[in-house]
Amino acid sequence: MPEFDLDSFKKTWQEQPVQQKYDHSAILEMLNRKSRNYVKYILWISVVEFIFFSVLGLFYILQGKESNSFISILEKLGARKTTELEGSLDNIYVVLKVLSLSITAYFVYKFYQNYKKIKIEENLKKLILKIIQFKKTVNAFILINIILLISFTSIFTLFIFYVLNTQNIEVTNSTLTGFIIGTIISTAVAVLLIWLYYKIVYGIIMRKLDKNLRQLKEIESQEF
């Protein structure tokens, strides 16, 4: 092959015979097909996640069974069920549920707002940054949920100690150790499962976006 020069090759490239593959009707047909893209994929998965967490919260509010199961734990540890105890437990639940639902509502709003900001006709860098921003809303929501899970567990554990203390109940060392280890392990497993789920679900798309963004940043950092 003679020496290759990209500039002299431009004309050949531009005149390459590109088959006119699609006619009017084929193009019109495409407009009714389903889109298969990553943003849509993130959107639907996130919508399902929001619904799941919200329904779970509402389910517990309507059922009101949590306090009973929590009291049964207290009773197993030797505490007595009193109206005062039930009253303060109900108050804690209401505060935590209102907090949890307000956080979900705020994130649903932010999530939708950031989704609407994604415009395909923007430049590549802005588009990638906006998709990452959109995904960060979901990340923040998940992180807050993990923090809430740990906080709720800690608040209830402290509450158990408070009840045991006010009712002057001495718990044997083995029961106490079992209870604390059980709480820590179940919380850790829940956090690990949530983390693993997000790595698997969003891993591929985030890797692809990061890779493209890195390429752009690398081009920007190059000098003469």
């Binding site: 431009k10 430049n123 590549l124 390429q215 190059q222």
Partner: protein
Amino acid sequence: MRFCIYLRYLIYTSALASKEKEFAQLIKDNQGLIIKVSRLYTNSLEDEEDLFQEIVLQLWRSYDSFKGNSKISTWMYRVALNTAITLFRKKSKSLPTNELDINHRDFVEDDDDKQQQISLLYTVIKTLPNVERAIVMMYLDDLPYKDIAENLGITEVNARVKMNRLKKTLKEQMEKYA
């Protein structure tokens, strides 16, 4: 009242139909650009057709925002490249990027020299990372550096520096595999 609703519906559907026709004509006239992007970012005919359709869909969705706001070519390049680089979910696994597969289908149907060179160039460009492929394609299609830079969100100087380096890389690769 009912008649008014029916009339509005008729006006709406006929306006939509004429907008669709106008759009289909635009795509038909410029399908070469979309075909080139689809070919550069996929490794199978199935993916290539899927990417073409996805680009057409994204162009249709952004059609209203385009009208009158920018040049057809700028809008088409942006949407096509953004879709190929960022949005598109491939069905088949992509080839390793650093290996030149000279048995690739790009070569199969070609008989004359020019066609073989174009096919080889496609194969060589495909070994480059996504963003670099976009720069080369826009350069080959004679887009000014200003537009290349704006489409990617980088500076004109960076686009120029990168393209100069890419010219050398492509020259080496083309001469090596010719």
